[in-house]
Symmetry: D2
Subunit: 133 residues, 4 copies
């Protein structure tokens, strides 16, 4: 039995929404040393946070007045490790149903090297469905 603190991301993230439209968004993260994990590469939680946020941004402009969206599930494949520089997530809505949205993300370095792929599902809450999905 142990008890140990694991401090992470002590400076937080400063994501940057570069571009967005109805169904697509580009969001980037400038990697800082505080985003790296114990083995010196970008923590999976940082990549995921970027993916999740860019997916939400891509969906945002498809929402109507009063609607909000929440992520139901997201899967991320970590293709290649990153240690520094800026990574760019491009999310695109594959299908927007009445309440479900399928969205995918491609994360690359600014040099175009693939870093991660994401595939997720969001739920759109309307005044009607907000009573509990």
């Amino acid at each position: 039995m142990t008890e140990r603190r694991i401090p992470l991301f002590k400076e937080g993230f400063e994501l940057e929404l570069v571009q967005s439209s109805a169904g697509a968004a580009v969001v980037q993260l400038a990697v800082k040393p505080s985003h790296l994990n114990a083995v010196g590469v970008l923590h999976g939680g940082a990549v995921f946070t970027l993916v999740d946020t860019s997916m939400a941004c891509a969906i945002m402009e498809t929402l109507r007045q009063g609607e909000t969206c929440v992520s139901v599930e997201i899967k991320v494949n970590n293709v290649a490790p990153v240690k520094e520089g800026t990574i760019v997530a491009r999310s695109a809505v594959g299908h927007r149903g009445r309440t479900l949205v399928h969205v995918e993300t491609d994360v690359r370095t600014t040099h175009g090297r693939l870093v991660a792929k994401g595939l997720g599902t969001f739920f759109v809450r309307t005044p009607l469905t907000a009573r509990g999905a």
Copy 2:
């Protein structure tokens, strides 16, 4: 075309490793207001960071001298939103192969309410395989 800053997790995370053994780990997160997203619930990136870290902790004690592990892919299902309190991730290794590890995670509030489920794959780097998976 827009350009906008999205600051996240400005205080970072203080995860706590409550327990770990070869193939299992319990890690928890005390939710702070800075971990919430734009609609006032715990950001998916925070849940994922907890899941990913607890998975790595569960695998850690199965590693031999010189081995390290990296996450290949992780999927998280967000079952119920959280706004405050402490959430507890319990990760268990389902199978440990020579280089691949399948691991799953259950995230609950301290009252036992299911918050999220995770299912992931890690890769174990040995001096032999370190030349590039």
Copy 3:
């Protein structure tokens, strides 16, 4: 440019629903040579079909009159290859919301060896939501 036929599962599957209740189901598959893939192990499509079907069976008895369910997304981790014998899928609903259901599955041989893990999301169509999720 090629054009080639890939015949699969020419005898089909004879799944067996062993047990089911509201939120849980046990479904099994007796592996036949026609279920194996080109390298002689059970095809991923066979494992997935078992997982998907057992998930649906677990949800079935939670449905009310007029409701049906469809799978939104499913992920399967193939933990260990199988060549023969019977494999047993146990699915359990983790959370049943008004329209979304989170469900997970554990596939084992009859000797208890872990074969695969599944994690998925289903959508419940009611007369109200049937107009298009």
Copy 4:
């Protein structure tokens, strides 16, 4: 306690490899009534079998003498239901490491309507690694 037979895919599948190269493949399935599920739409197991097979085909031509590949995990998002016609899976390798391959798939009707998205990981067995991943 019940015991019930669930026969599926009694005619099997006749997939067709339309095109393949090192890192990409196009495989299609002509939907038959025996591929539909209890609610009259294409069974998730049929979509998955097509996705899995097309992923393997995309990887095949990247393999060297003596290497084989197995799927580690695959996730499929079912975007829209299908009842008839032919569906076409296009798989592309996102990254090919020494032993791990990240691959994604897009499934569409012949009219271009998105049916499903897949994201998966394969493991390449070489004479060296074949002793057990």
